[in-house]
């Protein structure tokens, strides 16, 4: 394997406890990859998360292609599964937040977002890949920016310039003297902080999840020496538990991301009061 330590898997080192070797803790370096192609300094390169992102989108498209290319009124098994997922997002998320009439237009975007993010998250526990693409801030950021542009432009389109400004600032005369303060806070909260939190919420969850998995995996190997074997067992069990937990978090974070997307769109469409 590569001589680059960032590419070395935990069990490929000979570093064990009681060998006078320090614990090779996971850190930010665990999220940096030596480019597969190109040069890391030149900004023209291709690395493992990029490969996973592209393969992931091919998998998502392939799945829905197989399920929905020639859909039947009486569905087969695959179509049934895909329909269940589609229906869950359409009814459970879009119709619930935006409403059936207004929301229908945004169903394709929200469905794509959900399954794309879910797939990117799922890479975390796929053997060999074992890296959640969304733990690189660039991927959640792109999606958050798309959603941000959508809901901001929708607000202007729906309410005009003044209406949109009132919508962003939560303009409400009954607040009286606190109004300027409330408007300032709302303005910052909605226009500046919101896209940031939207992206970081997903990023940080996947980042932390991956770090935890790395920690327990590396520890299981590192502790595998002498009395440490008992601890290694505990650590290994924790790895399994955290993997199951991550499986849940991956779906949950994808769900949270699209739910927030719908809430933002709904806020843009709603009449300000």
């Amino acid at each position: 394997m590569s001589a680059d330590p960032t590419q070395v898997l935990a069990f490929e080192t000979d570093c064990h406890i009681f060998d006078g070797c320090g614990f090779p803790a996971p850190g930010l370096h665990s999220f940096l990859f030596k480019p597969l192609l190109g040069d890391g300094d030149s900004n023209v390169y291709f690395n493992k998360p990029m490969l996973l992102a592209l393969i992931g989108s091919v998998i998502v498209v392939g799945f829905f292609w197989a399920a929905f290319r020639k859909p039947k009124v009486v569905p087969g098994k695959l179509q049934m599964v895909a329909e269940t997922g589609y229906d869950f997002i359409r009814r459970g998320v879009v119709y619930e937040t935006i409403g059936k009439k207004e929301g229908e237009k945004y169903v394709p975007l929200v469905v794509s977002l959900f399954f794309f993010i879910w797939m990117m998250n799922l890479w975390s526990i796929v053997p060999v890949a074992q890296f959640p693409v969304t733990s690189i801030i660039a991927y959640p950021a792109v999606l958050a920016v798309i959603v941000y542009i959508l809901w901001v432009s929708l607000t202007f389109k729906r309410h005009g310039f003044v209406g949109a400004f009132k919508n962003f600032t939560g303009y409400d005369k009954s607040l009286g003297a606190v109004l300027p303060l409330a408007m300032t806070i709302e303005f910052f909260s909605n226009l500046l902080v919101r896209p940031f939190t939207h992206a970081v919420r997903l990023f940080a969850n996947m980042f932390a999840g991956h770090t935890l998995l790395l920690l327990f995996t590396i520890a299981s190997w590192y502790l595998l020496n002498g009395i440490g074997i008992a601890y290694a067992g505990v650590s290994f069990i924790m790895t399994l538990v955290m993997t199951a937990f991550e499986l849940f978090i991956q779906a949950l974070q994808a769900y949270v991301f699209v739910l927030l997307t719908c809430t933002y769109i709904q806020g843009a469409l709603a009449e300000h009061h």
């Binding site: 291709f46 794509s112 794309f116 801030i137 660039a138 980042f207």
Partner: protein, 180 residues
């Protein structure tokens, strides 16, 4: 683990997205969104609508069929009841007609018998009358013939006249002798 690389990593801010990854992320998402929004989701929406229509249509058809079956059943029941009623009425009529017929025939028979009896009586009366008539005519003719004979004899021939008279007398004598 090279300390240098770890140090290098820590100079990278994990919250600053590198441009190439932004581009790839955008491309990857656009691939998914493009296929789903342009082709696959419209496909499935069409089929879901078709399915809903098929189910609703099926329910409507079933309801229509049930309504029709119900109406046909009622129609049959009504027809059956009518037929029964009709049959009962016909039977009743036939009985009544039969009774009238029998009464009529009896009356007719009685009348014919009486007619025949009356006709018989008339015939007998007529025959008797005719017989007495004929008898009376015969007696008259006999008398006339005799008278004629008598007159004719006397006019033609005296001898024959006397013979007739003689014979008549003889006959009378014979009758008288026979009476004696």
């Amino acid at each position: 683990m090279s300390q240098l690389l770890i140090l290098a990593a820590e100079t990278e801010n994990p919250l600053v997205p590198p441009i190439p990854e932004l581009v790839i992320g955008l491309i990857a998402f656009v691939i998914v969104f493009g296929f789903l929004a342009k082709k696959l989701l419209p496909n499935i929406n069409k089929v879901l609508d078709e399915r809903r229509e098929a189910i609703e249509g099926g329910i409507e058809k079933a309801e229509a069929a049930q309504t029709e079956a119900q109406s046909v059943l009622e129609q049959y029941k009504a027809q059956l009841a009518e037929a029964r009623h009709e049959a009962a009425r016909l039977r009743q009529e036939a009985q009544e007609q039969g009774a009238t017929l029998i009464a009529e025939m009896r009356a007719e028979g009685q009348r014919q018998r009486e007619e025949i009896v009356a006709a018989g009586h008339t015939q007998i009366d007529a025959d008797r009358k005719a017989a007495s008539q004929a008898l009376r005519q015969d007696v008259g003719k006999l008398a006339t013939d005799l008278a004629g004979k008598l007159v004719g004899e006397s006019l033609e021939d005296h001898a024959r006249q006397s013979r007739v008279i003689d014979r008549f007398l003889d006959e009378l004598e014979e009758k008288a002798e026979a009476a004696r």
